[in-house]
């Protein structure tokens, strides 16, 4: 059971830059229904010898096929929207990486001695910036039923969500990480389990001196 994710503090820089860009664009358009602030990436790294931790080494990016792939569209139409609600009919919500890109990224990672460990994606504070009719929804920093469904069916050992909040004229974020629920319990047994994220400290000090 991998219960800890280790990474350097600057590992997520590109992802966070894109997250901020998406979020600000959404605010500027004043139409979060049309421009959903969406950002995501694949986490590459390795399992540590202690059997408890994963070390994230890189974030890689792929093509989103949420609105174009026939298999994905069928999954949303036949399962996800009926089960988890009409908001997911908005193709701007959620992401699905091109399978070819997952394969490519897997091979590129292997060439570097790394593996695909999972993914990271952003959750905006919808109750502040979303459409009026959705503002009663409070941001929840636990995986949604939809998240759990995807975590279970994809099975990746590391699933990170970046939660965003607008406060005091700035954008703040925090991270949550989870392991997937058991594939065989059909959602009735063990759910997602939290993973502790730890950032390097010594390297931060060294980098700042340079």
């Amino acid at each position: 059971m991998n219960s800890v994710a280790l990474m350097d503090w600057w590992m997520l820089t590109d992802f966070l830059d894109e997250t901020i860009h998406q979020y600000r664009t959404s605010l500027m358009t004043h139409n979060t229904e049309q421009h959903v602030p969406r950002s995501w990436g694949l986490l590459l790294g390795e399992f540590c010898d202690d059997g408890e931790a994963m070390r994230v080494r890189e974030v890689s990016f792929g093509t989103n096929v949420r609105e174009t792939d026939e298999t994905v569209l069928a999954e949303f139409d036949e399962v996800i929207i009926p089960c988890f609600g009409k908001p997911y009919a908005n193709g701007g919500r959620g992401f699905w990486c091109s399978n070819l890109d997952v394969l490519r990224i897997t091979r590129e990672a292997e060439a570097k001695g790394l593996e695909v460990l999972g993914s990271i994606h952003s959750h905006p504070d919808w109750h502040r910036i979303g459409p009026e009719h959705e503002r009663e929804l409070r941001i929840s920093q636990v995986p949604t039923p939809m998240d759990e469904y995807l975590f279970r069916n994809t099975g990746w050992p590391l699933n990170i969500i970046c939660y965003l909040e607008s406060r005091d004229n700035e954008i703040f974020h925090t991270l949550g990480a989870w392991s997937p629920p058991s594939f065989t319990d059909n959602g009735n047994g063990s759910g997602v389990q939290p993973i502790t994220i730890r950032f390097t400290l010594a390297r931060r000090a060294l980098k700042e001196k340079v």
């Binding site: 908001p87 999972g118 504070d125 995807l150």
Partner: protein, 95 residues
Amino acid sequence: MGMVKVRVPTAMRPLTDGTPEVTIEGATLRDVIDGLETGYPGFRERLLSEEGTLRRFVNIYVDEDDVRFGEGLDTPTPSGVTLWLVPAVAGGSLP
């Protein structure tokens, strides 16, 4: 029958006790999945739906070819090919 190298993603590694690559004998993808299930129980459920079709959350490549756009489970697996199991990477975006 061919011997096929199967690359096991981290998402399915619990089924192989952490082993990243296994070798399975089988003339077609269907045979290989049967062999995986025999050696490492749980693979069939991860790969196939109750109707016996490939799950939407998994793609399988025989070397460079996506079996979903070819012969599906009847895709030949000649000796020496590599089977890549590629789980979806996907997520949602709601509070």
